[in-house]
Amino acid sequence: MSSLIQQVINGLSLGSVYALIAVGYSLVYSVLLFSNFAHGGFLVIGGYICYYSLLKGGANIWVASLAALLGAGISAMAVERMAYKPIRERTPITLYMLIASMGMSIVIENIFVVTIGGRFRALPPVIPMQTVNVFGVASTSASDLLSLVTAVVFLVGLQLFLSKTKWGLAIRAASYSLRTAGLMGVNVNLLISLVFFVAGLLAAIGGIFLSARYSLYPQLGVITTKAFVAAVIGGLGSLPGAVVGSLILGLAEMLAAGFLSSQFRDLIVFGLLIITLIVRPTGLFGKSVGEKV
């Protein structure tokens, strides 16, 4: 029983990190309708900024995290300006942006390989790792609880931003029709920059926790594949879908690792993806737009 609870907590924690990545990815998808494969790059950028601020800058974890979040957010905006904006201004075909994003993903990864090398780095022990007893029924690591709490805080914050603010409303409108949002007086270039900033920022949080949990290396962004899968299971473009899909995935992975074998983790992940695509191709919260014509 206690090991079940422990695996559930681990699963939710991992799922919440996926959720941070998947939500940003889904947000970009919902506005620009393409899969941004460079999204994993933002996570790596955040991880390295945090690493170097701690190690070379002598910053504490709060300052380092803030630098990582802002740095990744700004990098995401820069990637959009450099690689996607010229394309979307010329053609409505989003496939080109998808291809450009694959290119940008390789570029970002290799910038790190070339400049600081491809070796694995461990984040200094700034995130508490000791074992915590949960209500006397199970034990888990403090970092798992911390990442769960942080993810919840940021996801709730995102939800409040989207539902309560003027720009949040504009983003929701744009995710239905970017063009019409523009006709309503929304500066769409600014809106897209904002969306990328938020996506980069959320990815950086995921990057920090992942590099604390595992280790930091230029290909860490590959883990975004899991977040993509989660977003697809939840329904592409849907934010609640991305969160629910991520939690399901995290739970499935951890339960499989705990009770079957950790070799089954990826099998379960992609099995779930295939089942979703067969049974419900639009995902759990897929957009079934109801508009009377």
Binding site: K166, L169, A170, R172, A173, Y176, S177, R179, T180, A181, G182, L183, M184, G185, V186, N187, V188, K287, V289, G290, E291, K292, V293
Partner: protein, 252 residues
Amino acid sequence: MIGNAGPESDRVIMSVRNLSVDYGAIRALKGVSLDVRRGEIAAVIGANGAGKSTLMAAIMGDARRSGGQILLDGTPLPERSYQVVSAGVSLSPEGRKLFAPLTVRENLEIGAFPLKNRGEMSEQMSRVYSLFPRLEERASQYAGTLSGGEQQMLAIGRALMARPRVLLLDEPSLGLAPIIITEIFKELDAINKTLGMTILIVEQNARKALMLSHRAYVLQTGVITMEGSSKDLLGNPEIEEAYLGGRKRQNT
């Protein structure tokens, strides 16, 4: 019908000068010029594919102008949509283009995006609600669940939320039952009279548009072929033949 203060040029609020738009190799608008006078309803009628929606898109900065100029109160209208709306021109687009998964209130709020603060917005919202009480009743309903007529009211209300100096309407009759069209056009007349709102409307339903408007232009394959007071155009046999269903129908 309209106040006759000042010379002609003072009364022009929006002036389209020699406007051209190209879609690739196709020239959709070939040097279109028209004026909208303060406080009037001007109409552009024409068949499918005449370039009516392109004209609207070009004014709104949604289609790239390849030549010509648009002046609002004598100053050039900016080329990007959000600046056009801030400058005082807003559009109720063809096919309404509501944000279906947002509520009626949220649709109105997004229409008010260029306004400075929430106070201005709620003031304008109560103005729109008093024009269309049905929208207030349905404020928290999703826009996609409204009836066709209500959707059109919402599209017009949403455009009014930006407090435009000129309101553009693209095919407000599209896809609506005749009785609903009559209702919508009655509302448009009221918006013009009670708010003093200047309106430029493009319509395929030429009869309705001519009956509503003060002056009208006929757009044919990207060129303005005729202009005049709407009353004159309604009685013009050529217009009758081409746009009002010929002489067989004697119900004018």
